[in-house]
């Protein structure tokens, strides 16, 4: 064992074991009860307002796709898309889904079709509700800036792995006075989302919203395991605080670098 990595390995093995146990528990049927996400409750009234205004709803999952390390965020974004599609069917609102990767086009079309059927308006669904503009960011930004100014959607939703195009989407949504919703764990955009959006999912809330919609046991089990891990970190912080006040912080430091 390399010096200074033993404690590191112990924490790693504890985490892996904990997550495996909680995943097994969740798959066994005992799902954790996740606290309510304010944004998901408000979705219904927001899309109702869009129906009154008679203008479309715009939805996008951003630059990240299913093949790179941002796949988890994109999967959560697609889960929320299925719920939004169902509500758009219920209120008979046009839902425009702009996707960034070629392979998201068929996936998006299936999600919208089933959503509109569940919502009770299967005849309203048409394949060209899903637009694909090519894999490049400037073309994607150009399309979005043009779409917002011409169509003037009532609601702008952005959930998933967003990159620089988040600035342009928030900018255009503000310029057309659309109701703005956004959610991404990427730290760089938390400030902009918190300021510009009516409702937003900060940090890990996107994963929780996606998992609670699909009630996927694997993710729910992981979320509960992560909560217990954070509880462990808080315990370590309390112990560290006690040690430093007693003047023994090198004890903890040596344990961590053991």
């Amino acid at each position: 064992m390399l010096p200074g990595k033993n404690f590191d390995l112990i924490i790693f093995l504890l985490t892996v074991a904990g997550m495996y146990l909680f995943m097994r528990k969740a798959e066994g049927g005992r799902l954790p009860n996740i606290r309510s996400i304010p944004l998901l409750e408000e979705l219904d009234s927001i899309i109702g307002r869009a129906a009154e205004m008679g203008r479309p709803v715009h939805y996008t999952t951003g630059y990240g796709g299913l093949h790179d390390e941002w796949a988890v965020m994109c999967v959560a974004g697609l889960a929320i898309l299925s719920k939004v599609a169902e509500m758009c069917g219920k209120y008979r609102v046009w839902l425009q889904f702009t996707c960034f990767r070629g392979y998201l086009v068929p996936i998006g079309q299936d999600i919208l079709k089933t959503g509109y059927e569940k919502g009770g308006a299967p005849e309203m669904y048409t394949p060209d509700m899903v637009t694909y503009v090519g894999e490049d960011q400037p073309a994607y930004i150009a399309y979005i800036m043009d779409y917002f100014m011409t169509e003037r959607p009532a609601v702008s939703m952005v959930f998933g792995a967003i990159q620089a195009e988040m600035n342009n989407i928030l900018m255009q949504a503000a310029r057309v006075n659309a109701i703005s919703l956004a959610g991404t764990p990427r730290l760089y955009y938390q400030g902009k989302m918190a300021l510009m959006c009516d409702y937003c999912l900060l940090g890990e809330e996107l994963y929780v919203a996606g998992a609670s919609i699909t009630s996927d046991p694997v993710h729910l089990g992981c979320i509960e395991a992560e909560d217990w891990f954070k509880m462990g970190i808080i315990a370590l912080l309390v112990i560290a605080a006690i040690f430093t006040t007693l003047g023994m912080e090198n004890v903890l430091q040596s344990l961590i670098n053991w």
């Binding site: 090519g134 928030l170 764990p185 992981c222």
Partner: protein, 202 residues
């Protein structure tokens, strides 16, 4: 032969290098093999980039053939790609000219950062709750701390700005770094157990 076709074989090919690198990280054994495997990662990434390029050309190629929407701009994509790619190997000075006078302004301006900032500031500052006011106060003091003109107006901006940066910002960034680290490990556990196979593209 049929087992190789299964998805499980690809998952094994995913998990083996992962476990080997973790084993090497914790024990330090087989150091040269580990660094060779890491270099393999960046070289395979190059090959996958070439495939990404091919799939984009297929999209724009069919767009031109079918005379679909905006097909003339697909032609522009092909022309600019061919001239720039050929120039990069054939004549380096034409490549430098294109890089300095065509690609640089594009990369400098295409993201419209400056104007997006202004719209966010002008339109977004309509705060509905006390949390929004806190956010605006944090950003105003940060801007005045960083701008050289801030301390000239009132030196207090620098001290308050530094305090905001050193205490609340430090606490939240530390917590969020911990949360992101935990998220990374959770993703790793799901991938080791084969529950998360985004790399297979399904």
């Amino acid at each position: 032969m049929s087992f190789i076709k299964q998805k499980e074989f690809a998952i094994i090919l995913f998990v083996l290098p992962l476990l080997f690198l973790l084993f090497n990280y914790y024990t330090g054994i087989a150091e040269p093999a580990a660094s060779e495997l890491i270099n393999w990662g960046s070289y395979l990434w190059n090959f996958s980039m070439i495939i990404g390029t091919y799939s984009l050309f297929r999209v724009h190629g069919t767009n031109i053939a079918k005379k679909g929407k905006d097909w003339s701009y697909s032609v522009v994509i092909f022309i600019s790609f061919v001239t720039y790619f050929v120039a990069s190997y054939v004549s380096p000075d034409v490549f430098k000219l294109i890089l300095d006078y065509i690609q640089t302004p594009i990369m400098l301006t295409i993201w419209m950062g400056g104007f997006a900032t202004l719209t966010m500031v002008f339109r977004g500052a309509r705060t509905k709750s006390y949390l929004g006011v806190l956010l605006l106060l944090g950003s105003i003091f940060t801007v005045l701390r960083m701008a050289p003109i801030g301390p000239l107006i009132w030196p207090g901006f620098h001290t308050i700005g530094m305090w905001i940066n050193d205490v609340p910002n430090m606490a939240v960034m530390r917590a969020i770094t911990i949360v992101m680290g935990v998220g990374l490990i959770a993703t790793l556990v799901r991938e080791i157990l084969g529950k998360e196979t985004h790399y297979l593209g399904d």
